[in-house]
Amino acid sequence: MRLKSHIFCSIAAAVAPILAQAGIERTDGSFELIDSSDVSLFQMSSIIAAPIADWELDVSLSASDFTFDYKPVDFDFNGSDITRDEQNYALQLNGRKLLNEQTTLLLGAGTYDGFSNYRSAWLDEYYRQQFNDLTGVPGAELYQTASPKGINGNIGLRWMYRPSNAFAQLTVSQLQDDVAPGYEIDFDGLQRGQLALATTAISLSTENILTKRIRSLVSLRASQTSQRSWRYGSEIAFNVALAERWIARLQVGGTTEGPTFDAYYGNLAVEFAINERISMYLDGRYYDDTGEIENSFLFSSAAPGTSSRKFGLGIKWTNETWSGRFYVAPISSHFEAPGGNVDAFQNLYKDRDWTVFQLAFSRTY
């Protein structure tokens, strides 16, 4: 793990002087923590924006830490309690080049190393405890220590079809992920799931100034991952200047993936400007999905239906060169009764009360 962090820090150290010579326009930093009684998720990230030749370049670095208290179910006689700590490091480069007054070319590439979420790591721990040592069992050699990582590339165009009022953006992305595979055992021995997943994603968005007080953003997404159905998503957001000091932000979205996964969510924030430099906002969010389980006959590690609620309070401040935000919110997540086919993961898919803390800042030069 230290070698990986050193590699990413070395990349950052190599890139920083190049950006410094080019003239940094803006630097952003953020710290985010979502914490519950047995799972703790932390992420810190930084973004440096600088022009290089004809390009506007953004370099983004992030480091995440997922810690959870793995607990096997009561009937898992091979399982044992363990506290697991996983790190994830990611580097993303995004560039924009103005082709003409109305059209901008977008290019991006990135890479990451480590588990991208705690659920993957939890499932990996289960498989490790169950199948790590199957001496004499056919297929035992298939088990290997997981080392998730991935790369991505994207290309797109932004078209300002109505100058200063509206633009449309189309982006195509390709992702390649080495995943922690799933395992199952039957009379033929140990069997292993896919080691790598390829994803193609297409995103179309349009931002519009609808009236003097309303701005909208509409996004449509489609993605397809190896041996899975297409996943479609849509989201619409309205920012409304209610009065001189009041702003409302509404966001509604949904996702569907065959044959049975449907999700929808809604978010409403109301912000009040205390003075020219400080504002406060309250927000609430609701999320609900149908879960990923298709049938009740096979052993499954997929999540049952889940819903969550969030209510938060944030404070923003700004001056000529600095801006910042602090946010805190409790989140309550609930899983539907999973049924017998996911009994082995009751302690993963259980109701949790979380608290999210965010601190972010930005400086312009």
Binding site: E32, Q43, S308
Partner: protein, 83 residues
């Protein structure tokens, strides 16, 4: 008696955001706001920004809400029988 299936079957939970999306796209063609009248839509809190100090977005929320993830890509550990 044969029943004709609709050409496109949109899940109920996707219909509201899709309808709002279509409405917003349609409304975008109705008017153009001059730059000198954009003081309200240009102030802090009214723009859609990736700046973490300005956005309301919680990056890690996708770990609690798998359906709100921005793009596809590898989700949980590949599971041999997760369907």
């Amino acid at each position: 008696m044969n029943q004709r299936k609709p050409f496109i079957t949109v899940p109920l939970r996707l219909r509201l955001p899709l309808c709002l999306s279509i409405a917003a796209i349609a409304l975008s063609g109705c008017t153009s706001v001059p730059v000198y009248q954009q003081q309200y839509v240009s102030k802090d809190g009214m723009t859609f920004s990736d700046n973490p100090a300005e956005t309301d977005r919680v990056n890690l929320i996708s770990q609690i809400e798998p359906g709100s993830a921005v793009s596809g890509g590898a989700q949980a550990a590949g599971c041999t029988a997760c369907r």
